[in-house]
């Protein structure tokens, strides 16, 4: 196994990790501020991807497609927040799980009814296509490298927003004591809608960005949604820092596990069964990791102790 392969796989893991972070950041913000489990977050990811593919097909501009995807996902998020989600803040988790599961059904079938069952394709922009040569002579797709950069830039922007701006102060205050900030004259309803739309826009962006390297189809949000949940549970629900660390851990585990576990088993087993066992173990690896983290720390790495 060469060093080049290892570097490539680490980069792939990072790329997957930062995209997961875009999903997980919204989920964890929404849970931290509003105390809501949003299963429909994956549908907003799907909305972003479909809108991006459609707009890119019509205008040919990837940048326009990204902006449209974020705007559409934010709008869809604001609409469901105001019509449905708002009524769920004071209910228990069971009701939230079910209501947002119902939203998934509506979004998925609605999308299938509009776009049909065939996948759409979104091309990578010409500017970012083709490989780039890294030090040590490693060739790596330019677009994937751009994804890592974009993800890190969004993470930085989100940190600045939360740590340095007035609205960030309100969001952090809302996590700690919602009655108090309402009493201080902050319009909590608008703040909630804003946070939900922000999370939705991030999910839409992730969908659009990933849509260029995968096919855009109904149900594409669900595997990502479950992984994003694993991320925020590992990181500690409500913690953006936890989401970032968790996303990188999950991204790297998932990518590297698929490559290295079969190799590892080959050291002491016959190749055929090593490949088999390694493959099944690697697809289970992140769930094993999550279970282990929860057993070791029942509220995640950076979670507040209950």
């Amino acid at each position: 196994m060469s060093a080049i392969l290892i570097v490539e796989q680490v980069l792939n893991g990072l790329q997957f990790g930062v995209m997961l972070f875009l999903m997980a950041a919204g989920l964890t913000l929404i849970f931290g501020v509003m105390g809501l489990i949003n299963l429909a977050h994956g549908s907003l990811y799907m909305v972003g991807a479909f809108v991006a593919a459609t707009v890119a097909g019509l205008t040919g501009s990837f940048l326009l497609a990204l902006i449209a995807a974020m705007a559409a996902a934010a709008m869809a998020g604001a609409v469901i927040e105001m019509s449905v989600i708002r009524r769920l803040y004071h209910t228990d988790h069971l009701d939230q799980v079910l209501a947002t599961f119902a939203l998934i059904l509506i979004f998925s079938e609605g999308t299938r009814a509009i776009f049909g069952s065939f996948p759409l394709y979104l091309d990578t922009p010409a500017l970012l296509s083709g490989p780039v040569t890294l030090p040590l002579g490693i060739e790596y797709p330019r677009y994937r490298l751009a994804l890592i950069a974009a993800g890190l830039a969004v993470a930085l922007g989100l940190w600045l927003l939360i740590a340095k701006t007035r609205i960030g102060i309100q969001i952090r205050a809302g996590e700690n004591d919602r009655e108090m900030i309402a009493a201080l004259g902050v319009d909590i309803r608008t703040l909630y809608t804003f946070v939900f739309a922000l999370g939705a826009a991030l999910a839409g962006l992730a969908g659009a960005l990933v849509g260029a390297i995968q096919s855009v189809q109904v149900g594409m949000g669900e595997p990502v949604l479950i992984l994003a949940f694993v991320v925020i549970v590992i990181g500690g629900i409500g913690s953006i820092k936890g989401a970032f660390v968790g996303a990188l851990i999950v991204g790297l585990t998932d990518t590297l596990g698929g490559i290295f576990l079969p190799e590892l088993f080959k050291l002491f087993m016959e190749p055929a069964s090593a490949t088999q066992i390694g493959a099944s173990l690697s697809s289970m690896a992140i769930y094993l990791l999550m279970a282990a983290v929860l057993i070791w720390r029942p509220t995640g790495l950076y979670g507040v102790r209950a």
Binding site: F31, L98, A102, E109, A291
Partner: protein, 327 residues
Amino acid sequence: MSREGYVNAALVAALIGVPLWAHLAGEPFTITLATRAVIFALAAVGLNLALGLGGMVSFGHAVFFGLGGYAMGILAHHAQNFLPLYDGLFLIEGTKSMPVIWLVAITVSALAALLIGLLSLRTSGVYFIMITLAFGQMFYYFTISWSAYGGEDGLSIWVRNGFPGLNTLDPIQFYALCFTLLCAALWLTHRIARSPFGLMLNATRQVPHRVETVGLDGQRAKLVVFVISGAITGLAGALFADLNRFVSPTMFSWHMSGEIMIFVILGGVARLFGPVAGAVLFVAMEHVLGDLSDYWHIYLGALLLGIVLFARGGVVGLLAGRAKSHD
């Protein structure tokens, strides 16, 4: 009899009457639909023990449903191909006999529930929901890559398994078998809910620290009921596999967990017959709306939203009024 009693009696009458009518009128498809509803109801009765009585929001009950299914699939697969399951110090062969399959399904899913419960009950709230979901995904991906038993394609069984003294190939006889098991599970649930153990669970769900203060071990009670719950759902999985003569990893998928949960909520959480009403309604809608439109999940979603937002207590709650509990 209370209003809820009438609703329950009407349900039982329908579950006996409709398949009997279908049998006499020669409509085996209706019997198959009813069998599907009864099996889903059994799975949901299992979940209702954990969810309604124990207050554990398990998003991973598909694990037990799938384990039951694979218990049947693997045993029958070995029997129909005349391959021994284990041929070492002693010989274990597959089987086509339902009672043996059921016993294996119940044992395997109870053991899995014990293990998952031991680990998951260290957490609570959202973390419990998520860790049970993670266990579900683990089994899902494991079966997908388990190529010895079909991997992603699953396993097909050529002929439905047999039950001593019955012809299980006859739809009405298989239905009667499933219905009897459902009744037994309902009776068991009723007995558990009324027992001192059930009262303690009820109290643990509402105010855990008080139960602890009087010196009772609420956590252990939750674990015990989680195991019983998993075992019942596992039995339902074995029946479901026998109904379709097919098992695949989708039995483990999180959609399955979500659907079992929908049966319970649609009908009414913590109501004895809630899961039955929910499963019957679900299968009826699947059939009627599925004929009307390819996109019937939209209507299911809308109905589910309506129930969550406006009709707490599900269908049984709507028909029978508020429960008499001290919530």
